[in-house]
Symmetry: D2
Subunit: 354 residues, 4 copies
């Protein structure tokens, strides 16, 4: 399998290139009987779409999802949900300048080596445009999960870091600003910084933090399919991600066991939550939280030197409509992937006991 | 599937509890014709086994692997390789004190909730003893990979961090000291620190860095099964891991695109390697390198308060023979999981083109 | 996974209900570099489509396939191939009479019990209309397989049986008649018989024989994934199939070993081929041949008694446009499923040896 | 994956060659809380073992299963169940005569071609000895299924066919005779016939019929993973199987729809059961029944001509201790595979609805 499916029981498979006719996917294993709010799914897509604010790419793509199957009289039927998002605003000739040359830190070179040739328009399959299909699938997963709340937000842009513990943040403010940071002062600083980076024709990285609340005890499988391992894989599969940590993360390394351990309350909850809601790979009912590191977007609107197919040096100029910072639009993608993991493990957890 | 298999084509499935009769596994999909050096596999196991130095657990477990099938006249036959490691030194009554209570930051509580009951002896299936089977499988994967070099080492213990770039380290020194740090001065500092932590009856976390060299271009699948996503999942599935980053990692977030991009040389290699050997999820032939964060071991040899099955407070005392710091023994496990990922993707890469 | 995918490496996932907006699928794992003849794929679909002759259903469905992705400049790119067939001629009100009642020997009853409700229009997902997606995927698989020839034909309709060994048949005549039987006399008899059955408002079963030629030695995996076991599963997954046999089949039961064994020629071929081209689950280079039994279509255009949702007896009248005999249109479906199995095992076979 | 696993959620993976150290397997996904009767599992193995009567192979193999993990205090823990059957009575030199030559209708030739070489002792992995592991796994599956009854029996040996409908048979008599036929007169005839065949040094084929009763409505997945398709694959994966049919099977082909359809009773059961307990791939609560055709064993104790590795003609003499007819010992294997399919689909069925 060439890696375009995710999940064992609640399983999405996606297709589509940046500049092909359509993107889309199939969700197989979605349980019957979910009353689907299709507008809500479109809203999730709108959170991801280009052109939504001045700090993201100015491409205009309506990204309207069409559901082909698996829903009848407003409810999921248990059969596969096929969907497509038709491409309407491709400017393929924007990309003729990269047809024969390899953009640094893009997938151009490896695609050519792996497959023998590539669809060079907009990065083809390696474009983050593919994540639109994930957002549709994640939107359906969220409606299946219902009581489980998933909130992601931007906690760092370049060197500007939100240090406030998530418990003190008001998640309802996430969507109130273009950056998707719940602290409005920080949001303003981040936005200003992104604008200045954009003016330079440059790009900058960032971090998305995700908090999952109201998770039942018992999701996650021992050994290879630990809940946090699958969350990590899910996040690392998003374009531009370079790192994942959950609970105490990399900082936990410097702690002693006696400091790090989470003591139990009598009801089975824990006084602290350095475990990040997962112990031994299985959810313990506490909040799951993790951080996802995104590198700066590779396409800079500057002149640069690179090589072409024949290994000759060429000088080229970055152009097109690109994001100066990917994290604001990455927020719904992180949530979608988290929802897909939890939906899958929720179904798996039904099979653990007689 | 309850999550005890790893890999699609080069696939290992493991079984076994800490204090059961035996641990072991089956490797399915190992290609025929590999001349297996069984002593080398046992050596890998010896790098992981308890009691190998004064800074690891003093349990005595010989951990001798027995191969049951899949090898004939010294070569793999292409049929599944079954193997077992018989347990010989279990002291199950060491654990009677935890039979009814939940150790903080262990999997005791979640196992009981998920499965209705648990094998409480030594953590049962959630024990890191399971990783012995992974080391066997990884040892076989390494022999299949042959030209690809995988070297892991300890780069941090508590707050003591090795900052030297890996290119300046001498990997041949990794096995020369108990910590498995290739910088001998740092190794000594780390060892001293672990000893002091051990004296307190406490534990400490650490970081393992892994470098994979001589990787062909083209390993890794687009979208969900990106090479680094699978490496991340593999590492996060190891007991006590809290974070994973590759290439520029979390630090890359603060860089601008113009600084972060790896410019090409004329032969397709890159002048820098912030990508960490992977672009768009596919290996580009440069070194793959990543860091894995391990939390401090949860079992501290101190008195602590917790709850029992009935939700009552109990005071208990950590005892038994445990590691004060897990990273020295984690080094071969990290290598084994890396080898399993690369073996699997090497086979997958045979199917990309006509 | 709810069972809408087929294949491990060359993997198709389908979606779509009989009367929804569209049917379609995704082929994941199709190797890059295949020059796709899209007209040929449409021709395969035309062999399956309704209304092609007087002995099949008179529904008019153009069944035009649209490829959304995975093909660039005429060649497969190695990325997933998404496709859809839009429904254009649904007459959903044809089915209002079965909304609340269960047609005998249809899936109506079990769908309601399993999922809680169902899309009752035309059988929804249980309609054989789903196989259009299989034919598209199989058509692409055929182009990947290239040198392997797959020919299916009708060898039995009701009690009319073609006894001629396949070696004496002229496969080029299969498409020359509406029944798809290469013996023209038998074809005429079968056609006449189907017409008489149709006149009665009744239906009749049949057998499709499939012959696969030019298969390399070595396809198929030992033990559970034997080549013929997967072919059997593939065929049994087609609507209305009740049996599968290959090589000597059920008749081989009555033979002695000394009669049944296939003696070798010096070049490794065999003098006879009772094995049916597969030994120990692995292709031996001889022709693979098998038979697939189809029951009579359950929808008869007669009055019948059945029950409704409330368990009450109701009398209803079969209506709509249905096939009196399914085998003529099943021929391309059998070929498509065979092609999918062989494509998948061809890729798997690349991973057997170092 | 090289095809040594079966099942998605209740999943068994097996290992082991005929003459290696041990056979065995791992069951992953077995739910926690099953009170396992280990003696019952050994009894199932005893039904399969050689030497149990005068009409089966006279090899002496005790086939004692040892459970390594996944069971604690008599109950399954939800963790993988590892098990092994150690080989104790291999006479490898029995096979030196076939080391370099290819036995007709065995897997010798295709193994050499596929893998480059083979473990020639007793057929290695292609030996039916592998099915011992399946019987262990199936024995555990049966205990999970509890209320579902699975009874297989011999219904044909050579041309001697039991025509009595299964409803009129007394399944309690199956184990009363060496052939495992519930009709004692027929059993005697079959036994006599097998003895005469054995005297000739020849072998003969047979049919095993299997009846599954007390199946809940709703097992089976639409489209590719239809319940009967998976049962078919399971049966066809057993050594020497050439055909599978369920319900009306091949005979149903000659029936008209009006005759073949199963009319409903008011309680949702059907008056007839030509569907064989499965409609549209999903169990309808009626008895599931099917037939499995076994070819005559390929090893005949006669002199025969064949070729060697170099393509030269050689004359050799069949020897060793082999079954003259495989079906008596195949009965528990058929039951085991049926149990594995039903256990897997029982778990899957828990995920269909919200």
């Amino acid at each position: 399998m060439a890696g375009n499916s995710f999940g064992q029981l609640f399983r999405v498979t996606t297709f589509g290139e940046s500049h092909g006719k359509a993107l889309g996917g199939i969700i197989d294993g979605c349980p019957a009987g979910i009353e689907l709010d299709l507008e809500q799914i479109q809203l999730e897509l709108d959170r991801r779409k280009p052109g939504q604010s001045s700090i993201v790419t100015q491409r205009k793509e309506p990204d309207t999802v069409e559901i082909y199957s698996g829903v009848f009289e407003g409810k999921t039927t248990g059969t596969p949900i096929g969907f497509a998002i038709h491409n309407t605003n491709q400017k393929s000739n924007d990309y003729s300048h990269i047809k024969d040359s390899y953009r640094p830190s893009h997938a151009d070179y490896v695609y050519d080596k792996k497959y023998g040739f590539r669809d060079y328009r907009g990065g083809g399959r390696s474009s983050a445009r593919e994540t639109a299909s994930r957002v549709v699938a994640g939107g359906i997963a969220k409606q299946f999960l219902k009581d489980i709340q998933i909130n992601a937000f931007v906690s760092q842009v370049g060197g500007i870091t939100l240090e406030t513990p998530y418990q003190e943040l008001d998640f309802s403010k996430i969507e109130s600003n273009a950056v998707r940071c719940p602290d409005l002062d920080m949001a303003q600083k981040m936005e200003d910084y992104i604008k200045s980076i954009k003016k330079e024709g440059d790009t900058i990285g960032g971090v998305v933090t995700c908090v999952i609340q109201n998770v039942p005890v018992g999701l996650g499988e021992p050994v290879f399919d630990k809940l946090h391992a699958k969350l990590g894989e899910a996040m690392l599969s998003i374009n531009a991600v370079k790192g994942f940590e959950y609970g105490s993360g990399f900082a936990g390394v410097a702690m002693k066991g006696s400091e790090h351990n989470d003591a139990y309350n009598e009801d089975g909850t824990t006084k602290t939550n350095r475990s990040g809601g997962v112990q031994g790979g299985i959810s313990n009912g506490m909040d799951i939280y993790f951080k996802v590191a995104f590198k700066p977007v590779a396409t800079v609107l500057q002149s640069y030197e690179t090589i072409n197919k024949d290994g000759e040096k060429v000088t080229t100029q970055g152009k097109g409509r690109h994001d100066p910072c990917v994290v604001p639009r990455a927020v719904p993608i992180v949530e979608a992937m988290a929802a897909l993991v939890l939906a899958d493990y929720s179904l798996l957890a039904r099979t653990n006991k007689i």
